[in-house]
Amino acid sequence: MSAKNHGFPWNLLVGFILSIALTLLAVFVAFYTDFSSHVILWVIGVMALFQAIIQLFMFMHVTEGKEGIINVVNMVNSIILALIIVFGSIWVLTSGHASLH
């Protein structure tokens, strides 16, 4: 583990360049393509998720240490909770609300 730490931090540099590239790509997709806004949202959303994964694995070393697996399970659990909260709220307060009328 520390053997690769002594050298040049390639994983950090690659992660950084990928983050910058993904950010610029998201701007390009959002402003300079003719996709429908629905498609754009999905594409840039997936790129944001990809950037978050880069941060987690290349910068935060989420799998490191004795509790690496616990960390991953904890993160996956939190992400599932976040998705339920976000999509659940939108669903209840848009389609759910609309059916009251």
């Binding site: 583990m1 520390s2 053997a3 730490n5 002594h6 931090p9 950090l12 540099l13 992660g15 950084f16 983050s19 910058i20 950010t23 998201a26 701007v27 959002a30 402003f31 806004s37 754009i40 949202l41 840039i44 959303g45 790129m47 944001a48 950037q51 978050a52 941060q55 987690l56 290349m58 910068f59 935060m60 989420v62 490191e64 240490g65 004795k66 509790e67 616990i70 960390n71 904890n74 993160m75 659990n77 939190s78 992400i79 909770l81 976040a82 998705l83 909260i85 976000v86 659940g88 709220s89 939108i90 307060l93 848009t94």
Partner: protein, 198 residues
């Protein structure tokens, strides 16, 4: 893993537990920010006659903020890399660069907020601005706290050097800093880009 290949911050049971505990805290932070995002998504179209996102967002400024924060996440990674090579000077320099970038980000964000208020979008204007300022303000407050926290840790580092304790504290602070960058990526994508395109 033998003990001399294990990074310093994992070498006592206490610091291992601290790091694990901080990951659990970050899980709770994900849930906290998800509730703020959920409120924002529900309220973003309720502009109550006030400005919408596309009327006030400026792509150039937001991109600069994004690049500043992405770079600061990278430099805090370099700081931890230096720490693991027992390079105190490198650790100190990269952490100070990280803090300066963090301060630059805050400066830009505060200017951005002042600009919005001048455009007639205060936190009381509409559901959209209330949710927007709450989400962005919570992130900005986290960045502010991070700057103060890491500054104090650097004082401790200068005084005590790289020990199991100081290294675990700085490692945890770096996790926090990377996490703030992750939150910003989602703000950039789902608040700014979405607001300007939809």
């Amino acid at each position: 893993m033998t003990s001399h290949t294990t990074p310093l911050e994992y070498q006592s049971e206490q610091t291992q537990m601290n790091i694990l505990g901080f990951w659990v805290f970050l899980g709770a932070e994900i849930v906290l920010f998800s509730t703020l995002f959920a409120s924002y998504f529900v309220l973003e179209h309720n502009t109550a006659g006030g400005p919408a996102g596309q009327d006030i967002f400026i792509l150039k400024d937001v991109l600069i903020e994004t690049f500043i924060l992405l770079t600061s996440s990278f430099t805090s990674g370099l700081a931890i890399h230096s720490m693991r090579n027992h390079d105190k000077k490198g650790l100190l320099i990269w952490m100070i660069v990280t803090l300066l970038l963090g301060a630059g980000f805050l400066y830009m964000e505060i200017n951005e907020f002042i600009h919005y208020v001048h455009e007639g979008a205060t936190i009381q204007t509409s559901g959209f601005t209330a949710a927007f300022f709450t989400l962005l303000g919570t992130h900005g407050a986290h960045v502010t706290f991070g700057i103060i926290w890491i500054s104090l840790l650097l004082v401790q580092l200068v005084r005590r050097g790289i020990t199991v304790k100081t290294s675990s504290k700085l490692f945890i602070a770096s996790l926090y800093w990377h996490f703030l960058d992750v939150v910003w990526i989602f703000i950039f994508t789902f608040v700014y880009l979405k607001g300007m395109v939809m």
